[in-house]
């Protein structure tokens, strides 16, 4: 038995695919499957789930048999940047819904820009103000996007 951290990352990738395949097949089976000559809505998804499961198993086994190349160290995780980029998109969705285009635009650029270590909050502020101008001129005025510049509530 290999040690946990010695496993090739394909083992995890394969396992992920297999689990996904099982989920797809199980969920697909809740729709009617039908027969080969009269397929129901569940037939194709179940078949895809099975293929996904099998390919996942194959990837996992192949990964288990190969020894990982240990000399190349993966770059450190960027949790802060990842969090801020995800948050910026969520902020866009929420703010566009309740406050309008200008706050949403400002938020998506400002928050995501802070994810880059080289950006100071001042630089991020300038960048987001510049993009707000683009948003108003190009998207609101020229392309007439269906979002008010400002709004309060829905």
């Amino acid at each position: 038995m290999k040690r946990f951290k010695d496993l090739h990352k394909d083992v995890w990738g394969g396992a992920m695919m297999s689990v996904l395949g099982i989920v797809v097949a199980v969920q697909g089976a809740t729709y009617s499957i039908g027969t080969l000559s009269r397929m129901g809505p569940g037939y194709f998804p179940v078949a895809l789930g099975v293929i996904l499961f099998l390919s996942g198993v194959a990837i996992g086994i192949k990964g288990y048999l190969t020894t990982p190349e240990s000399h190349e160290k993966p770059p450190p995780p960027e949790w802060k940047a990842w969090f801020l980029i995800s948050l910026s998109v969520i902020a866009f969705v929420v703010l566009a819904e309740y406050l309008g285009l200008v706050p949403a635009t400002f938020a998506v650029v400002f928050i995501s820009a802070l994810g880059d270590r080289d950006n100071t909050w001042k630089k991020a502020l300038l960048l987001s103000l510049a993009i707000v101008v683009v948003a108003v001129v190009v998207f609101w005025w020229a392309l007439q996007i269906q979002l008010p510049l400002f709004r309060w509530g829905r």
């Binding site: 992920m16 000559s37 895809l48 390919s55 192949k62 566009a96 987001s128």
Partner: protein
């Protein structure tokens, strides 16, 4: 006879492409494509996906002319970054870096760009000619296609797309299947059952193509590259007269250009082979037949001319199966196919007769667009070089805004902006595990067509699976599928045995892979 007819149709096509309105959109597409292609980390896929929403209100002809313009415009742009800054902003150009960048450092960057331009134009022209004459022939065969044949050829396309990509064929298959599953999401056309909607009413309408593409190729890439992409700004100055190659240089690059073009044409005709593998093979071929291969990697002109030519002829030839069979060759074509479907145009053998203005107009616009590109690139090269130096820290936040607003305007739906984030995270995780995400898009676009034709074929044959082998055309595709899998197994086994014996070195230098890699 058929040749005469084609020429006549082409003439008609030029009359469509040269109307001021269409010409304007073509020019716009080429310009924007070129611009986005130059930007680091942005390729044809993100460029098309970003501008796709703009086409919804347009007439189909200018819409598709513009999108095609973006496509080959971004290819030109990608080469510039590869040659001048050693930055493969789009994976197919990764090999161009190998010899293009050393040329820049030796002060011959201008020449490399000039040769790239000539090679691209030559290859694109050749590809267009192939397209003009091959499409009508293919259509004659395609009219004999029923659901059985369509399913078999799609299966072949999907298999080729997933196994011929760079990287593990098994992972390619897993990703294609994942894409097919994503294509299932929504209401089943036959029974009206809502599938995999996870309780969201918004999902009964299928996943949004633009959201999926922007998530996988935009947000996922930002998540992967943030704080990891740093550029060394070079003070490259390219002047106009530097770009004109000498007679000797032209002569030196002519044969590589021809060979690259042929490689691209062959790979374009095969559904599912990605652009990256094409350029790598063109490069490998040049190195193999060169008299002194040690020059490669140190600024050999052939190493720039051949891969660039191959990628451009492949692009053109790729349109043949996409337009005449409705089967996209790679992820970019899948996106273009999606754009056609949104416009209510079903690509397939009927397309050429039913939408003659669109088909021949598109072909003619390829030429017009390629000429526009050459004209555009000569004076603009200085601006492109400047653009290349836009720091990533400003680029990705701005791009995130464009993605969010672009996806929103597709259907005025904020839910779909949320989809982008989900697929961005999913794509980033998959990329971490070295899965080729581009094939997901291929599966997603073809998914509903595959299911529909599979069901119909088996309904007609009363559940007899052998029907796929009984009809001759379908059987040919099925045999090709089997050969493909058999070949892959053979090569995998042989590589495994070789690996055991000793040899480790691959034939080509390793190149950093990115999201849009195929």
């Amino acid at each position: 006879m058929i040749i005469l007819q084609s020429l006549q149709d082409l003439w008609y096509g030029f009359s469509v492409a040269l109307t001021p309105h269409n010409l304007m959109w073509s020019f716009f597409g080429v310009l924007v494509g070129n611009l986005i292609g130059v930007l680091p980390g942005m390729g044809a896929l993100s460029a098309i996906a970003m501008l796709l929403p703009l086409t919804y209100t347009m007439h189909p002809v200018p819409a598709i002319l513009m999108l095609a313009g973006i496509f080959y415009g971004s290819q030109y742009g990608g080469a510039i970054g590869a040659i001048l800054l050693n930055l493969p902003s789009h994976p197919p150009h990764a090999v161009t870096c190998l010899d293009g960048y050393p040329m820049t450092r030796a002060g011959k960057g201008g020449t490399a760009l000039g040769i790239t331009m000539i090679a691209s134009f030559f290859a694109a022209s050749f590809g267009i000619i192939v397209m003009i004459f091959a499409s009508p022939l293919l259509v004659q065969i395609a009219f004999k296609f029923g659901p059985t044949e369509i399913f078999s050829i799609m299966l072949l396309g999907l298999l080729a797309g997933s196994t011929m990509a760079r990287g593990s064929p098994l992972k390619g298959i897993a990703m294609t299947t994942f894409g097919l599953v994503l294509g299932v999401v929504g209401t089943d056309v036959n029974s009206g059952v809502a599938r995999f909607t996870l309780g969201f009413p918004e999902l009964t309408d299928r996943l949004e193509l633009v959201a999926l593409a922007m998530g996988l190729f935009g947000v996922a890439d930002f998540l992967k590259s943030v704080n990891r992409m740093h550029f060394i700004g070079t003070e490259t100055k390219v002047r106009l007269r530097d770009m004109r190659p000498t007679k000797a240089e032209l002569k030196q690059s002519f044969m590589p250009m021809v060979r690259g073009t042929l490689v691209g044409t062959i790979f374009g005709a095969m559904p599912g082979t990605g652009p990256t593998i094409t350029t790598f093979i063109a490069y490998a071929l040049e190195r193999k037949i060169a008299k002194n291969p040690e020059r490669f990697g140190k600024g050999a002109l052939e190493g720039v001319a051949a891969p660039e030519a191959s990628s451009h002829s492949k692009t053109q030839v790729d349109f043949i199966p996409t337009m005449s069979l409705g089967i996209p060759g790679d992820a970019v074509m899948a996106l273009l196919l999606g754009a056609l479907l949104i416009q209510g145009i079903q690509p397939g053998p009927q397309l050429i007769s039913q939408h003659a203005d669109l088909f021949w107009g598109l072909i003619a616009s390829f030429w017009v667009g390629n000429i526009l590109l050459v004209i555009l690139n000569v004076p603009m090269i200085g601006i492109w070089v400047k653009l290349l130096q836009v720091p990533y820290k400003y680029l990705f936040p701005s791009a995130l805004f464009f993605i969010a607003v672009g996806v929103y305007s597709t259907n005025n739906s904020l839910f779909e902006v949320g989809e982008v984030l989900v697929f961005g995270v999913v794509g980033a995780v998959l990329m971490y595990f070295d899965f080729p995400v581009a094939t997901i898009l291929l599966g997603y676009v073809l998914g509903p067509l595959v299911e529909e034709n599979f069901r119909r074929a088996l309904l007609l044959s009363r559940g007899d699976l052998l029907v796929f082998f009984e009809r001759p055309i379908s059987a040919t595709f099925m045999i090709a599928c089997i050969l493909l899998i058999g070949g892959q197994l053979f090569f995998a086994l042989r590589a495994h045995l070789k690996h055991r014996r000793a040899g480790l070195l691959g034939p080509l230098p390793a190149v950093h892979e990115t999201a849009t890699d195929q």
